[in-house]
């Protein structure tokens, strides 16, 4: 297990190195952020002064070495735009994204699993076909379009739900949370549902496929032949087998939902890290972009590790050191 974790971390380091290299030089090639910050009256001297302040006057390779040096000390640099440490900006915004992603994961599982189970048990029924059609739409219709249609319908037409921001939040252990207030919940519903659609479609398809396969398994027949109640057969005997692929895929998908909730956050002006990333890219705020992407890599590695652990809990055959044959 330890060896496994060490190997994972080593891989992550390599990914981090390559990623910083690409982003650092890539952003440099795109343009000089100074021209975006500086006012139009700024003279040559004024521009040089800003560049010197930000360390942009040095050759790019020297900037990169400095960056690596600081990184080794855990310092990811200050945002060009805000002048505060990039990491603190990310931490400030991250709870909003995490809340949004968690809510959409919950919706995806709560809606997708039962629908998938039903479609798997009655594959030929009309309802099942409707469910599968819905999941196909969820995959293929662009998120931004769905988000806009939701806003048009529920905010503009019906006026039921607010379309912008997080609403009223409550501090839980110093972290602002929307889901606990009525207003916050109303703000959360639309973006969370929009963000959940792809995951939901995936859960539906995986659950259905798993169900259809598992229902023909001998161990399900045997459980039924032993008189085990149908609810128990489906809810435990079949379910635990179905969950294995669902958990694997959802884990990976969850990480990318957190990392790239950009579109949804932009549409609903959700004050999360995704929106922050878009803003940072718009002004070429390199430290913030790099810091965020490092953050994403670390998060992916962590979540994948969690999935592996969860996976081994579900499937005793892959349990590390489980004493199997």
């Amino acid at each position: 297990m330890i060896e496994f974790i060490i190997r994972r971390v080593a891989q992550a380091m390599l990914v981090l190195f390559v990623m910083t290299l690409l982003v650092f030089f890539g952003v440099h090639v795109i343009g000089n952020p100074v021209y975006i910050f500086a006012s139009s009256e700024c003279t040559r001297e004024c521009l040089d002064e800003i560049m010197a302040n930000l360390g942009l006057d040095l050759p790019i390779w020297q900037q990169y070495l400095m960056f690596l040096g600081n990184l080794a000390e855990g310092d990811l640099g200050k945002s060009f735009t805000f002048g505060v440490p990039a990491m603190s900006l990310i931490w400030e915004r991250f709870p909003a994204t995490l809340e949004l992603a968690t809510a959409s994961l919950a919706i995806a599982v709560a809606v997708g699993l039962p629908l998938g189970l039903y479609a798997g048990m009655r594959p030929d029924s009309l309802v099942s076909r409707a469910i599968m059609g819905f999941s196909m739409l969820g995959f293929s219709v662009p998120i931004f379009w769905i988000g806009l249609i939701f806003i048009l319908t529920f905010s503009v037409r019906l006026g039921w739900l607010p379309s912008v921001g997080r609403g009223q939040t409550v501090q839980v252990f110093g972290v602002p949370v929307s889901v606990l207030t009525r207003d916050g919940l109303a703000h959360l519903v639309m973006p969370a549902f929009t963000l959940s659609l792809i995951m939901m479609s995936m859960v539906i398809r995986l659950t259905r496929a798993g169900m259809r396969e598992v229902l023909h398994a001998d161990y399900i027949r045997f459980a039924r032949a032993s008189g085990v109640r149908e609810r128990r057969v489906i809810g435990l005997h079949a379910m635990k087998n179905i969950l294995i692929p669902v958990v694997t895929v959802l884990g990976m998908e969850f990480a990318s939902v957190i990392a790239f909730a950009v579109v949804t956050e932009s549409i609903f002006s959700w004050p999360g890290v995704g929106k922050m990333l878009i803003d940072a890219i718009a002004v070429l705020d390199r430290p913030l972009i790099v810091a965020y992407l490092i953050f994403v890599v670390v998060m992916f590695v962590t979540i994948n590790l969690c999935v592996d652990i969860l996976y081994s809990l579900l499937d005793p055959r892959v349990r590390v050191g489980g004493g199997g044959p």
């Binding site: 161990y219 045997f222 459980a223 039924r224 032993s226 008189g227 085990v228 005997h237 294995i244 499937d315």
Partner: protein, 324 residues
Amino acid sequence: MAPVLELRGLRTVFATAAGELPALDGIDLAVSRGEIVALVGESGSGKSVTGFSVTGLLPSVARVVAGSVRLNGTEIAGLRGEAMRRLRGRHVAMIFQDPMMTLNPVLRIGTQMRDALFAHERMGGRAAADRLERALAEVGIAEPRARLRQYPHELSGGMRQRVAIAIALLHGPDLVIADEPTTALDVTIQGQILALVQRLAREKGTALIWITHDLAVVAGIADRIAVMYAGRIVEEGPVDAVLDSPAHPYTRGLIDSVPATHPKGQRLPQIPGRMPTLAELPDGCAFAPRCPRRSGACADRPDPAPAGGGRMVRCFHPLAEGRA
């Protein structure tokens, strides 16, 4: 005394694109208390379908369309849902072929056994654990307590089949349908499992239907034998009489194809051709196209007729007794 299980004219069809095809075409069979009946035939002859028709576990495309299934004198054909579930495990249990697949790979042995136990009985956790340990000990599993905490992949194939047998016998069912339970096992383990099931069935007076294609197994375990071909029982009777002097040409062919019964160095006789699929069943005797004794009469369907020695045979030209 009424037989534990009595099938009369059982007909099961599969709904396919080509229409409804008869997988079972009028099965008559009776099994008494403590009796072991072997159901023999090639793959696709309807052996397994017979078992699943009794327990109501047919695949969704198949259904029983005619005939009666009486368990302890009560009609159970067409029972569904909870009424059928109450019978399964308690009055009629099943054991399947592949012990690798019969037990759920992601649930502990104890969980699976407990679910089967609680399906029909309520009891406390401690009492249940004791009961399960005793059930495992009864099928010859050492350290039953430790086994309950293990997963199927931690046990050998023979051990898994023992667990499946323990689950099947948990409620002392009146009838056990064993669907090729030894086919996937090593020969030595096969013998052990055979002896185990035979002993338990005799001790408890359980009626047993043993589905197999292995005639050597039949000779060792069964009291009576029913030979199936294309959804019909073509010959049925006491195991010694049928195996020593088969009356149906198909039974004869089956026995002759077993290498052990044949003199060394001679070419092993085979039954020419293959069993017709359900879609291409002839109107008359289904075996006629492969039969060395066929005649014009075989274009009609033969009815079961007594053939001496307590036997029934479906053939217009049965082999004379003792001619084997």
